[in-house]
Each structure stands twice: as structure tokens, then as C-alpha cells.
């Protein structure tokens, strides 16, 4: 581990001294119709990382854990399985956009996405984009965005996956997926059920995680149909029904319970011409939570938002060197809840993007966006990005953008305290990236600077209640390093993936590090495969974090740094053309490390998980 850190620091310091940065990846361009093409085509100057099947389909890990061990994303998790919110680059969870098949699914109530309400088995790939993306992805894309994509495969195939899982704390998981495709029609269907007593030990105490049980049911169906050679219809649908108790904290019992019912439906019509692609998207999203103070009683408080949206996207290739794009987006939100009545909002945005490729080595894109919203004034947003390929091995990427985060329904309408005079948070940033690629090694280094203004903070007032105001200014800067190795020797394959981030994020008034922002975070995973046998080890280091704004180091006001390791082995019992049966065993928290991601909310002790995956 020490060696890894030194390596990381060495790389960082040498390259930083030369005054440069950046990391990951240009995606291979997908066929227009098959996925969120906007992401791959319009982010030349940004770091994007794609997590593929092999990473996502690790059956014993939560989505939170997959991302914690495989990316720069940092999570605040209120105990295992409880509310889990992601953040990037020293920003917070409401400054992190989560995009489902091109549409933002951050809660309209609190501006965040809870990753324990998303089942990872449902996605074909997950793309992590570091840095601001409000021009394309709207509110909240400040620190970065996480893209959850379903792909429709229009080739002749029919395969099924059955997964069964059993692990510590009586954790049981079953899922079934079917994929069918022909040249005209594609469908995939998925169904998952997870249940866990989640009663892990609080290491170093006599307590267990009481009142932490959860279960959820997830249903997913995606359809695609070529109406004609140039017209395609796609339907994406996802339903999530979850019930979870809410763990207490050390020395505080809890009787709380949460129910969540989230539905997402998206219908898309794409028309493809010689020089253009036109897409119309119509979607309905529902988020609903019910909070029970006492789980045995019937009384609860609730919040519900229905989002209706229509979006038009036009891609037009003016010439071989110039591409233009426009996005028109109209959203109508209606909310209903115990604490904010039944308000509604509407928002319209117009975006224009021009991409210029003067030669095969360089790309420059300019994006501009204006929102018109019913409750507040939104700033004009822009983004400028570009990349230049110096040689076969070395590429440089650069971007500068202005991004925003709009006030949520809670911020605007909560009774008491909701503030209708709020402005959106605004953020400016620059980001410089380098990518070195040599045979089976890829090295990425990014450095960035972000300045945030008018941050919305809830503060107590002398009228006896809390109210949000646009008050804080913060900045963050740092570096991200990514390393990928992939090497095959005969029947042996070794892959290594490492990420390191150095993050300073400060309140500009006090110059104190923001709470829950680790200065250093690193992870590495090594996988080895020979014939039917696979083995992996993954490790992460999380630096100490402050939990109050005054940066006091104490067991009450900060969390210590920690190292975590996971290990796993799997074997293909059956491996032939029509049948694949894999048996896997994972040991999570191998070293039995006591750790917390949110203060007083311990995470699990060492635990085991056994999986059967049958593909036919």
C-alpha cells in the first residue's frame, strides 16, 4: 500500500510541477441510436470513466461500494444501506447530478440522489464524468455527474441471467434479467429483490446495527423498435419499491422507517437523417417517500413529486468539421407533501452547442444554455472545452464552464422557513487534463479549480425556525490521478485500476476545509483471471474528515482515516456456448476495519457473500 501511495505521489508531483493535468478517456463513439450518445460525443475536454459490466456485476457489492472502490466519487453513507449521497471534487451531493438515460433524476425535494435507492444490476454501463456539466445536464452538475445507461442491442440474441446471492446479516438477493434482440426489435427486462437484516456488529462496542433492516424490489424494462430504417422508438421504464428501517447512531436508538416508491418512464423517438439526428423525449418521473417516526405506527410524513418533461434534441452536421446541436427542454414539477403543501414549478431551457474539428488532432466545443424558471432567475450558463492529441500516446484536455444548482422544493416551500427569494447557486470552474496511453497502460491526470457562489445553506434564525439563504462562498481545487493496466499473457489476464484524488475545499470566509471532504482518497483494484478461475483484491484509503465547520480533530467532531480491503474469488462451474454457471465468494472488509462515513454511524464488520450466476 505504501508503495502505491509513493507511486501516486511521485506521479502527481512530477506531472504537477510541469504545470499540467488530466485523465481518462475518450469513449469509442457508439452508434447514434444505442445509448446516451450526447455524453460520449460532447465531452471532449472532460474526464469521463466508464464502468463496464465486469465491475458493475459484482453481485455482493452495493452501488455505493462499487463506486467507492472504483472511482473518485466520495460517499456519505448513514450506515450501510441507509441514505448514501455521492460527491466529487469537494462539492456536495446536491452538486452532483445523476443522469438516467440522459435525464436528471436528482430528487426535486432535496436535490440529491440516494444511491441505496438504485439497483446497479439494471444498467449496462455507468459513466462518471468529473467536472461541471450544467449546460447539458442541468441543475446540480457542478462537481460532476454520474450517468446510468441502458443499452439496447439490435443484434440477434437471446440470453438470460439468473443470480442468487446469500451473505452475512441474512442478506439475500435474487435477480433475473432477459435480453432479446433482432435487427428491428430489442428488449431487456430485469427484476431484482434484495432483503437484509443488516444487523452487523459495531466494531469495538457491544452494539449491533439495530433497526437497520431493508428490502427493495426493482423492476426494469427497456424496449426499442425500428419503425423504419430512419425512425426508432425506445421506451425505458424503471420501478423501485423500497422499505428500510433507519439505523440509529452510536448510543441513540431509532424506531424510524422509510418507504420509497420511485417510478421512471421515458419514451424516445429518434429520426435519423444523412446530416442530422432528431430526438424527442417524453418522460414521467415520480419520487415518493414516507417517513415513519415510529415504524410500528401508521402515522407518517411524506413528500411526493411528479415530473413531466418533454425534450427535443437536434444534432446537425454542418460540414465534416462543424457540428451543431440544440436542446429544448420543458419540465413541469408538481409536488405534494406534509411540510410544503402542493406547490408546482415549471422550467424551460434552451441549449446550443457548436463543435469544431479543424483536423484529426483537435476538437473544440462551445456550449451555451439559458433557463427560464417559474420561481427564480437563472444565470446564462456556458461551457468551453477542447482536446488536442499531441501524439499517439499523449492527449491534453481542457474545459471551463459556468454551472448552477437551483433551489429545491424544500428550499423554496418548506413550512416553516422556505424562502421564495433564493437564487440558484452558481459555480465557475476550469479543468486541465492529460492522458498518456501506451500499449496496455493508461494514465490520466486532471487538475481543477472550482469557485462556488451563493451556496444555499439552512440557518437557524431568531424567529425560531431554520431558513435557507444564499450565503456561502467556497472554492475547491485538487488533482485526480487514474491508472489502468490491462495485460494478457497466454491464458492469464491481469487488470489493475487505481484512482487517487487530492482535494482542498474551503469556505472562503473562514478558510476552513469543508466538512466531509477527505484531502486524500485512493483506491486500487487488481483482478487476475486464468481460464475458469478469477480472483480480485480491492483496497481503498479514505483520509480523515471534519464533521463540523470549525475543523476540530476529536472523536466527536471528526472521523479518522481508514483503509479497507475486499477480496473475492469465482469459478466457472459450467462454461459452454449455451450455459454458464459461475460460483463466487466475496469477503468484504477483509481486515475487520472499524470505520464510519457519517459520524456515529458505524459501517459493517467483516462479512461474507456467496453468489451463483447462471447465464443461459
Amino acid at each position: 500500500m505504501k508503495l502505491f501511495y509513493s507511486l501516486v505521489f511521485l506521479c502527481f508531483s512530477t506531472i504537477a510541477l510541469k504545470g499540467q493535468i488530466k485523465v481518462d478517456s475518450v469513449q469509442t463513439l457508439e452508434t447514434v441510436v444505442l445509448s446516451d450518445v450526447k455524453l460520449q460525443q460532447n465531452n471532449y475536454g472532460f474526464k469521463t470513466t466508464t464502468l463496464k459490466d465486469s465491475v458493475l456485476q459484482n453481485d455482493s457489492k452495493s452501488f455505493t461500494d462499487i463506486l467507492r472502490f472504483n472511482s473518485n466519487v466520495y460517499f456519505k453513507e448513514n450506515g450501510y444501506g441507509m441514505v448514501s449521497s455521492p460527491s466529487f471534487r469537494g462539492t456536495n451531493a446536491s452538486q452532483t447530478a445523476v443522469i438516467w438515460n440522459g435525464i436528471s433524476i436528482n430528487s426535486q425535494l432535496n436535490g440529491q440522489t440516494d444511491f441505496n435507492l438504485i439497483n446497479v444490476n439494471n444498467f449496462d454501463n455507468v459513466v462518471i464524468k468529473n467536472g461541471g456539466g450544467s449546460v447539458q445536464y442541468g441543475s446540480g452538475a457542478i462537481g460532476g455527474s454520474i450517468h446510468l445507461n441502458n443499452k439496447l442491442n439490435f443484434s440477434s440474441h437471446f440470453d438470460n441471467h439468473l443470480r442468487l446471492n446469500y451473505g452475512s446479516f441474512n442478506t439475500q438477493k435474487a435477480s433475473f434479467n432477459t435480453n432479446y434482440g433482432s435487427s428491428k426489435f430489442a428488449v431487456n427486462f430485469g427484476f431484482q429483490y434484495v432483503t437484509s437484516d443488516n444487523d452487523y456488529m459495531y466494531l469495538g462496542t457491544n452494539e449491533v446495527n439495530e433497526n437497520g433492516a431493508f428490502n427493495n424490489l426493482n423492476f426494469n424494462v427497456n424496449l426499442g423498435y425500428f419503425i423504419s430504417e430512419n425512425n426508432i422508438l425506445k421506451l425505458y421504464h424503471q420501478a423501485f419499491l423500497g422499505e428500510r428501517e433507519l439505523s440509529g447512531t452510536l448510543n441513540t436508538i431509532s424506531r424510524n422507517k422509510y418507504l420509497d416508491e420511485n417510478f421512471r418512464t421515458l419514451l424516445e423517438w429518434a429520426n435519423i437523417g444523412n446530416h442530422y439526428t432528431s430526438k424527442v423525449k417524453v418522460a414521467h418521473l415520480q419520487e415518493l417517500f414516507k417517513f415513519y417516526q415510529n415504524k410500528v405506527l401508521d402515522s407518517y410524513s411524506y413528500g411526493k413529486v411528479n415530473t413531466y418533461l418533454i425534450k427535443h434534441i437536434l444534432d446537425y452536421n454542418l460540414s465534416k468539421k462543424i457540428a451543431l446541436k440544440s436542446i429544448l427542454d420543458y419540465n413541469y414539477f408538481e409536488a405534494d407533501g406534509s411540510s410544503f403543501g402542493s406547490p408546482n414549478r415549471s422550467a424551460f431551457s434552451a441549449t446550443a452547442i457548436a463543435t469544431y474539428k479543424p483536423d484529426t488532432k483537435s476538437t473544440i466545443a462551445f456550449n451555451i444554455r439559458q433557463d427560464v424558471t417559474s420561481d427564480f432567475k437563472s444565470p446564462l450558463l456556458f461551457s468551453l472545452d477542447g482536446s488536442y492529441q499531441f501524439s499517439k500516446f499523449y492527449k491534453i484536455m481542457i474545459n471551463a464552464s459556468k454551472n448552477f444548482r437551483v433551489p429545491t422544493f424544500n428550499d423554496l416551500f418548506w413550512q416553516p422557513g422556505g424562502n421564495l427569494n433564493l437564487k440558484p447557486e452558481t459555480s465557475y470552474q476550469v479543468d486541465l487534463g492529460h492522458q498518456l496511453q501506451y500499449k496496455w497502460v493508461t494514465l490520466d491526470l486532471n487538475t481543477y479549480y472550482i469557485k462556488n457562489e451563493n451556496l444555499i445553506q439552512w440557518k437557524p434564525s431568531n424567529s425560531g425556525f431554520w431558513s435557507p439563504i444564499n450565503i456561502d462562498q467556497t472554492h475547491s481545487y485538487g488533482a485526480e490521478l487514474g491508472l489502468k493496466l490491462n495485460k494478457t499473457f497466454g491464458s492469464h489476464t491481469i487488470t489493475l485500476n487505481g484512482n487517487y484524488s487530492y482535494t482542498i475545499s474551503e469556505d472562503l470566509e473562514t478558510n476552513k476545509q469543508l466538512i466531509y471532504v477527505p484531502k486524500h482518497k485512493a483506491n486500487v483494484s487488481i483482478a487476475y483471471n486464468v481460464k475458469r478461475l478469477s480472483f480480485y483484491y480491492q483496497h481503498m484509503f479514505n483520509d480523515m474528515v471534519f464533521t463540523t465547520e470549525d475543523n476540530i480533530i476529536s472523536p466527536l467532531y471528526s472521523l479518522p482515516k481508514y483503509d479497507l480491503g475486499n477480496i473475492g474469488i469465482s469459478y466457472q462451474l459450467i462454461q459452454n456456448k449455451n450455459h454458464n454457471l459461475r460460483l463466487g465468494l466475496d469477503i468484504n472488509n477483509l481486515y475487520d476495519t472499524p470505520y464510519q462515513n457519517v459520524i456515529f454511524r458505524p459501517m459493517p464488520n467483516r462479512n461474507y457473500n456467496i453468489q451463483l450466476h447462471y447465464k443461459f
Partner: protein, 347 residues
Amino acid sequence: MKKLLYSVLGLSLLFSCSNDDDGTMPQEPLGDYENGFIISAEGGPSSVSYISNDFSTSENDIYFNVNGETLGVYLQSIGFNGDKAYIIQDSGTITVVNRYTFELITTITTGLTTPRYIGFNGSNAYVSDWADPFTTTDDYIAVVDLNSYTVTSTIPVSEGPEQVLANNDKVFVSHKGGYGANNEVSVITTSNSTVATISVNDVPDEMVLDSQGNLLVLSEGGQSWQATGETLASITRINTNDNSVISTIEFATGNHPSLMSYSNGMAYYILNNEVYGLADTATNLPSSSLFSVEAGYAYGMFVKDGNLFLTDASFSAQSTLKVYDISSGTLSESFSVGVGASKIYFN
């Protein structure tokens, strides 16, 4: 102040010396936290701070320092009785400690749901409890046997019982109203656990006894976002013998004071960072303030011996305890105390 302390110390030395003849141990200090005041902080994390009477020493997180464990997240209030302190946590726990050493004695969890405040009468304590805060009809006063540390019975009361003041054979409970709003003071006769109610203005919270033994109740008044709509705050003076209302002095529309403390013939309250004094004899609110305080969020107040103690609460960093000299209105001392510091108690 210091002189007084020294003379008390001197006296106690004399006293302990004279006791030596009996073969009993000399009077030991009762604990590190004997001669000072305690500030409870809601958190998170919940914590307790100590400041000595002479302001020479202060210590934060004393419960954690002594017991090596935290108090959890939702400390509501502390009650003191005999040599014990009872730390009330909203999550349904009372932590009993020695009030002078803060060493943990026991915890009470059974029979409590959302406890708020505690009052004492003989070998019983009376704990206000919201039960399920979303249910308006399940609120109660838990009667705790102080010998066995168990909840022995419950007395149903109306919505949102808050502060508890025990006086002789009666226990007064202000019904602030929990998540809603209420306008009652419950009076429990301890001998037979019967409950009488007194109507006051909306949202009654702080209660004190004046020099004549009358009960003063500060009602905060309803605010526009509450079910009550905007209603007037008031200070109601109640005869504790027959529960009759002696007088109700109302505040102007839109004024919602929430802090009141009593010392030496004067009830002190704070409104928009101005400190006012209402004399026992007054029939109207004072027209001008005594002095003003500087606070981002004045969250707790206590008046003693010519000093006004105020917590300026922060919920994301350490709070500040400020001491004002009432006669001059000047800030004399300032201490860093726990996150969400709320109540001040003299030990």
C-alpha cells in the same frame, strides 16, 4: 464572587476539620464539576460543557471525557435532583449520571418514546413525552421511580407537553404543542395523578416561579405557518394554589419571544436580541430594553446574580456561551461550548 468562593471553601475546611474527631473522612470535593454551571448542547453531536463559577476553568464534552462514549445525537434537556443529573435524549433515553463527576450511573430506555423535560417530586420524576410526534393523541407524562429507574406509570395529557416545573405537590407542564401548536398548561397533582388544565396563549414554553410563588408562563404565540395562524405571545401569571390566571400580558403582533429566566423579582426575556425585564409588579410590558446582545441565534438564557448567560447556538460548529453584566449591559465573558448549545444549568 471569588471572595465568596474562598470563604465557602474556608468554612467547609473548618467544618471538615471539626468532623475529623468523629472519625469520618474529611469532606472531599464532590467532583470536578461541582462548582460551576453546565451547558447542554443538542448537537449533533450532543455534548455537555462545564464552566466554573469563577470562569477560570471550562471544559467541553465532559460526558464523553468521563465516560468515553457519546450521548448520541438528540440531547433535549437535563434535570438535576439530589446528587444526580438526568440527561434527556429525544430518541427515548434518559442517561443518569452523578451531577458532580458526570460518571454514568444507568440509562432508562423502557417506557420512553420522545422525552423532552423532567421535573422531580419526592422519589418520582415526571417526564414529558410526545410519544409519536405525528400523533396528537398519544402524548403523556412518564412517572419514573428514582429508586428503580423505571417508568412506573404514564399520565395521558394533550398534544406536545414540553417544559416541566415541579412545585410542592404539583407538577406544571407547558404544552408547546410538539410539531403542532397547543395552548395549555397541565397541572398534575402528584398525590393522585389527576390532571387539571389552564388555558394560556398559544405555544406556551418557558415557565418560572416568581418571588410570590406564582407561576409565570411564556407563550410564544402562534406563527403564520402554524395551524393557529398568527396569534399573540404573552406572559401569563398563574396562582399555583388554585390554578387561576392572575394576569396575562400580551406582546405586540409579530413578536415571538422564546426565552425567559427569572431572578430577584424580575422576569427577563429576549426579543430580537434585546433583553427586557418585567418586574413582578408591572402590569404592562417594559417599553424599552435593558440592553442588547449580539447573537446569531440566541437559543438559551439563564439569569443569576446580576449576570445574564446566553448561548449563541451554531449547529454546524461550536457554539458560544456569552455572559453579560446586567447592570451595565456589557459582555464580560465568552466561551466556546458544544454544537447546538441550548440550556444553562447551575450545578
